[in-house]
């Protein structure tokens, strides 16, 4: 759908519909997705471009972006 109706900047994460920011109650995972989405906001330089995040649900290791120095 991103290809048919892209926003100016797009982030793709291969999670299930209805859980695109991660698992219910998994705040760290949700922060990781949101942090990457916000980072893509400034990194994307072309209208309609898509950044795919590398996460694979529970198989990935998530690093808390708020635990890192900004």
């Amino acid at each position: 759908m991103l290809l048919k109706a892209p926003a100016p900047r797009n982030v793709l994460v291969r999670f299930r519909l209805g859980e695109i920011f991660g698992e219910a109650g998994h705040a760290l995972q949700q922060r990781a997705i949101l942090a990457d989405a916000l980072a893509a906001l400034l990194a994307i330089r072309q209208a309609g471009a898509i950044v795919e995040l590398p996460y694979r649900w529970k198989r990935s290791v998530y690093v808390d972006p708020l635990a890192r120095p900004s």
Partner: protein
């Protein structure tokens, strides 16, 4: 189709990724160029809002109308300070069981507050927006011609720099 049937189909769609991909193939492509505005404000100074198409709204607000086959192009304003328990979801076209338990999986307002507290963003915008995807025909035209411009005006009036738009 009945709401029960739509909900059953959505449950299946959520679990078989090939089905939404097949659905997307039949979609009309967006006409015209994709709009672009340079991101000129550093995140640490920016006001950030959430707009979700996942059918999120306050419990006290009218639910989205699930009886219309073309969907409901209206939208609901969600204040930044709303407790998560005051949010609910009306949307028959995706399985929102997880989002019912934790709205942050589609509408990460609590996470956004954490980013503001940690000074990773300038501030959480005072108002956010819930709408629903799956709008077709006349409702799609209403979304494009009325609701989307009204949402943009609302966010602009609040001084919002960036919007995170999320589907269901």
């Amino acid at each position: 189709m009945s709401r029960r049937w739509n909900q059953l189909l959505s449950w299946i769609y959520t679990r078989v990724p090939a089905l939404p991909r097949r659905y997307a193939v039949g979609m009309d492509a967006l006409a015209g160029a994709v709009p672009w505005t340079p991101a000129a404000v550093p995140l640490e100074q920016a006001s950030v809002a959430l707009v979700t198409l996942a059918g999120v709204h306050l419990r006290g607000q009218p639910a989205f109308d699930m009886t219309r086959s073309e969907g409901d192009a209206s939208f609901r304003v969600i204040p930044a300070a709303v407790p998560a328990g005051d949010l609910t979801i009306t949307h028959d076209y995706y399985d929102h069981a997880a989002a019912d338990r934790d709205p942050n999986v589609v509408f990460p307002l609590a996470r956004l507050h954490e980013f503001a507290a940690a000074r990773r963003i300038g501030r959480v915008a005072p108002r956010h927006v819930g709408a629903m995807g799956h709008v077709l025909g006349a409702e799609e035209r209403r979304l494009v011609g009325e609701s989307a411009p009204a949402i943009a005006r609302l966010l602009k009036a609040d001084g919002v720099d960036y919007v995170v738009l999320s589907p269901g």
